[in-house]
């Protein structure tokens, strides 16, 4: 079930990326695809009835879900934040220069 939720998120993101003309909405769509992929990767590592992969006073010996996808998603989240920050800044600059975020209206503005 979780697999289908993440695929639905990826589909929504791709739809938004193609159908919308606003650059900010492109950024939001990229963010949604990112979330979908992360949920999918985490759910691959889930094992029923097992605990979070940390040795603690509640799990003295190993009884863990797969820690490797979680470590990879940690990397993916950080890089996603970097891309989002850089993209948002560029969108602000485009708005300052052209006065619009619509890619079609941008063609008509004199440079």
């Amino acid at each position: 079930m979780v697999y289908y939720i993440s695929i639905a998120l990826i589909g929504v993101g791709i739809y938004g990326l193609i159908s919308q003309k606003n650059l900010f909405k492109h950024l939001v769509s990229l963010s949604i695809i990112d979330t979908g992929v992360n949920i999918f990767l985490i759910s691959i590592g889930y094992v029923e009835g097992k605990e979070a992969p940390i040795y603690s006073m509640f799990t003295l010996t190993a009884n863990f879900v797969d820690p490797l996808p979680q470590a990879l998603v940690l990397t993916a989240i950080v890089i996603g934040i970097g891309i989002l920050a850089l993209g948002a800044v560029l969108v602000v600059r485009v708005k300052e220069k052209y006065g619009t975020l619509n890619v079609e209206e941008m063609k008509d503005v004199r440079r």
Partner: protein, 240 residues
């Protein structure tokens, strides 16, 4: 027409993905003994396999209680160095776009409650962030969430005062912690023969002073990520 076509394309991609997931194990029905993660959990990538018991096992191959931390910082430490570099480049790019601009105000005086409360809450936020990344090898968390919490404190300072500007010393902190990460890696070459090798004793699993270089690297990463994200917060408050 454009909406219809993009709907069609999105549906096509979703159908292809649904077809693909038929070949992977069903949700929650994974056999971990067939995956490489089994070796990470039992800490037996190089050493012999023996059962790891919390607060009892000593001198393991890799001594952090949080298995995700052990993968991120120890087994895949080089990958994390690249990840930190990506974050640095993105912070650098944000700074480049907004270089030489003045701070923008919100146009009105911040609320009295906010101005008074920030003096109480800000040290607690910093303390919590530092706690998160010092205990990165024992509890959920680590350098990346801890650093993000530090930058939230800086964001609160920005919201509570029209005049506040981040000091240039944050860039010094960022550069220092970034070079410390590389220096720890080079010490690994000098002492054990490979980049980012754990050259300290790993101690008893679950103790605060355990896992060798893992907590040191996570503290360094925490300061670096905190400084980078604070710089991004500061740059987003500028205007031309």
């Amino acid at each position: 027409m454009r909406k219809f076509l993009s709907m069609l394309l999105a549906l096509g991609v979703a159908l292809a993905l649904i077809k693909m997931i038929e070949s992977i194990p069903a949700y929650g029905k994974v056999d971990l003994s067939k995956r490489v993660s089994e070796k990470y959990i039992s800490k037996s990538v190089n050493a012999f396999k023996e059962e790891v018991v919390y607060k009892k096992s000593r001198d393991l191959e890799e001594g952090s209680a949080n298995v995700v931390t052990s993968i991120v910082v120890n087994y895949r430490g080089f990958d994390t160095l690249g990840e930190v570099t990506v974050l640095f480049i993105s912070a650098f790019g944000v700074g480049l776009v907004f270089s030489g601009l003045k701070r923008k105000g919100y146009g009105r005086k911040p609320n009295f409650i906010l101005r008074t409360a920030v003096g109480v809450v800000f040290p607690l936020i910093i303390l919590f962030g530092v706690y998160i990344f010092v205990h990165g090898h024992l509890t959920p968390g680590g350098g990346f969430p801890g650093g993000t919490i530090l930058s939230i404190g800086i964001l609160l300072l920005y919201l509570s005062s029209e005049e506040y500007e981040l000091s240039e010393r944050s860039k010094v902190l960022e550069g220092t912690s970034g070079s410390l990460f590389v220096i720890i890696g080079l010490l690994g070459i000098a002492l054990s023969g490979a980049f980012l090798t754990n050259f300290l004793s790993t101690g008893t699993i679950g103790n605060l002073l355990s896992a060798g270089i893992v907590p040191i690297i996570y503290i360094v990463i925490g300061f670096k990520v905190g400084a980078e994200l604070s710089t991004i917060v500061a740059d987003l408050h500028k205007e031309g």
